[in-house]
Amino acid sequence: MTKKIRIATQGLFLLFFLWLFLQTESKGANDLGYPVKIFLDADPLIFITTMLSSREWYQTFYLAILVIVATVFLGRVFCGWACPLGTLNNVVGSVKKRRLKTSTVNWYRFKYYVLIFLLVSSLFSLQLTGIVDPISLLIRSFSLAVYPLVSYATNATFDAFYNANIPFLVNVSEFIYSILKKIFLPFQQPFYIQSALMGFLFLLILALNLVERRFWCKYLCPLGGLLGILSRYAFLKRSVSEDCNDCGACTQECQGSATPDQKESWKSTECLYCMDCDDLCPRNAVRFGFLKNQPVAGMDLGKRRVIGSILTAIVAVPLMRITPIARAGVSDPRLIRPPGSLEEKEFLRRCVKCGECMKVCITNGLQPTFLEAGLEGIWSPVLVPRIGYCEYRCTLCGQVCPTGAIKRLELPEKNKVKIGLAMINKGRCLPHAHATPCIVCEEVCPTPKKAIWFEQVMVRNREGKERILKLPRVDLELCIGCGLCEAKCPVLGQPAIYVTSVGESRSRDNQLLLP
């Protein structure tokens, strides 16, 4: 019975997660209307590390406090009953034959070393949690790989029917397609740099369930580690009565590494509180309840290994930062951050690489970085105008950012934020270099007083005939660097107008003009 309730609860949380994920998309209004980042808000690991690295208190994290309190009272119920990645691991793990391994008995400690590394490095302002935090990892993998993949496969299938154009059949397929579009397909096919890599990493995590069920949750997950520590003295405890005859059935079923067969040295920190052992015990000897003075096993992480994790973190902080891009004037010109992004150092202290902003970006322009922001900033958002520009009246990325790395801006404020500046490559521009009319850049420029203007000049063509030509020019004071001009520039390959991050409002040093 407990098992059925648990599975139903897990299913509901997963569906809620997926539903919020699907709502992380513009419908054309200014606001999304749903609290799509609620799972990130409820993530205590993101809460604690972000607070440490940014040295700021966040009010929106009340849900994380709730999870912490729940864990202190009830143990790792989040892992066993709510975590969407845990549920997916359950699903994939269900195809694996149950066979107990003894070689992995101490691997559970590894996630604590990861956790210690993340906590210590965040204390020294390095925020790498998002790379391995399960919620962040799941949203990123879904946004950048799984969802685009599903969308692509579905579109390709229905396009095939559409193009085959068999009468009647095409009507049926188009009807189904229109329904799918309403239910779960994205408005337009998303494309992301590195999506294949993200997809493979995610598949790897799922595939590890075939090595051992919930491999990720048992051995790797740093959030699991944090909740494990918090549940060390949880009030909800497991007891085994005298009826136990050491049949070992519970160990076979255990979703964590909690060694339930060992009674007195049951590892409470490794228990996911799925309570399957209670359900299945043939002698009904297992009981969960609020018990006092119930003996449990210690954590046994090993002093040397803990010190080793701390030292690794301490070394990693300067190691990550001895890159020239940290110096003024050397930052990557391609590193165009979303509007409302904090100054780069502050930004990196907060960004957890969850990919929410990339998912919600209505032009698909926000992409994950690779090394443009250094290794520290891997998979943080960067605007690639050739893929998509920053929509002038859109503020969605700031609305979904869970940690305030991208500030939530009101429209009048957003319209003033510069994320870069556009410059014209005269050698490629049609009017400038080839005396051919164009000025698409001027047409699309979205600022109320256009930042691109044109100069009318008289030119002579090859035959010596005079013609009037409009040459585009950029007004550097007005340009906000949205990249619409670059996105629409008809000069393919290298565009004739392009945006770089110079002039971005958030930076004091990355400036071209005198203030």
């Binding site: 193009n163 209505i362 002038y392 009246r393 047409e443 109320p448 007083k449 619409l484 629409k488 008809p490």
Partner: protein, 300 residues
């Protein structure tokens, strides 16, 4: 015949006999209505002036027949609210849809290939709301539905156009009058860019001929130029209310060149000042010579 009927007939007959010119006067005024080339309606209510302009041309039934599939093509190209005059007035659009249904249209479709994000354009322009409310079928442009068509070849020999626009029984073009950097103004013929597929940025290299090519191919049943508000600078996208001028005017006609030539006068220009109007005139698509046209002005 009852007594009352007899009296009626007698009175009508008497009146007709007393004023022999009467019937012919009615007939000639009907003929005159047929001959109106452009209707310019002025008034504060967009819905009323839109209807008045169409009525002045002979009424919607002259253009739309029972059972027609009609495409109404507004400008929904930008993420701007109606008061910024970058997109067609939503009330003008919904009035035309309503009239089409009143004339017995089977279905009225509304779409535009927006320049920026279509979700925002459709929503913020107010068009998705007003058009749906009167039964218009508003859809986003589906990339699969463009078909390469042969064009007259003044500038373009062929180009992919939107099949729903090509295959409709009747097409009504509802542009808004705005300034435009390259073509000075964007009016009716420029609005056809919203049914063009492919990489439209290249069109600008030969914009005048290209627009005439598409306009000649499309042959709309009616052109309704929305000048309720016009954008006088920083077009076609605008963004500042100080560039918007409230004219409370709607112009209707069937001659694409004539409508645009009249539209130019709203900005203090002549048709000949606009490259594609001149090109359309030369290609015989219509006339920009407003003096030769019968223009009916209505004030409400």
């Amino acid at each position: 015949m009852k007594r009352r009927d007899f009296i009626k007939v007698a009175i009508v007959a008497g009146v007709t006999l007393t004023f022999p010119g009467n019937t012919s006067m009615i007939l000639s005024s009907l003929e005159a209505a047929d001959k109106v080339d452009l209707a310019v309606a002025h008034g504060v209510l967009p819905a009323r002036i839109t209807k008045a302009a169409i009525d002045a041309l002979g009424g919607i039934r002259k253009f739309i027949s029972r059972g027609d599939i009609v495409v109404v093509k507004p400008n929904i190209g930008w993420d701007r609210m109606p008061e910024y005059a970058a997109t067609t007035n939503p009330e003008v659009v919904s009035t035309v849809i309503r009239l089409c249904y009143e004339a017995g249209a089977k279905q009225v479709k509304v779409f535009d290939r927006a320049v920026v994000d279509p979700r925002r354009c459709y929503k913020q322009s107010g068009i998705v709301e007003t058009a749906s409310a009167v039964g218009g079928v508003v859809s986003f442009v589906d990339d699969r539905k463009f078909r390469e068509v042969k064009l007259p070849g003044i500038a373009l020999k062929s180009w992919p156009l939107y099949t729903e626009a090509i295959e409709a029984d009747k097409v009504i073009n509802i542009p808004i009058a705005k300034t435009h950097g390259l073509s000075t103004l964007t009016l009716g013929m420029k609005n056809w860019m919203g049914i063009m597929g492919g990489s439209r940025g290249r069109i600008h290299q030969k914009i005048e001929g290209s627009l005439v090519d598409v306009a000649m191919f499309m042959k709309p049943s009616l052109v309704i130029l929305d000048a309720v508000r016009i954008l006088t600078a920083n077009g076609p996208q605008g963004g500042s209310l100080s560039d918007v001028k409230q004219l409370n005017t709607v112009i209707a006609g069937t001659d694409q060149v004539a409508v645009d030539a009249y539209g130019a006068t709203l900005f203090g220009l002549k048709g000949a000042d606009i490259g594609y109007v001149m090109a359309g005139h030369k290609a015989g698509l219509g006339t920009m010579d407003l003096a030769k046209l019968k223009i009916k002005r209505i004030n409400i």
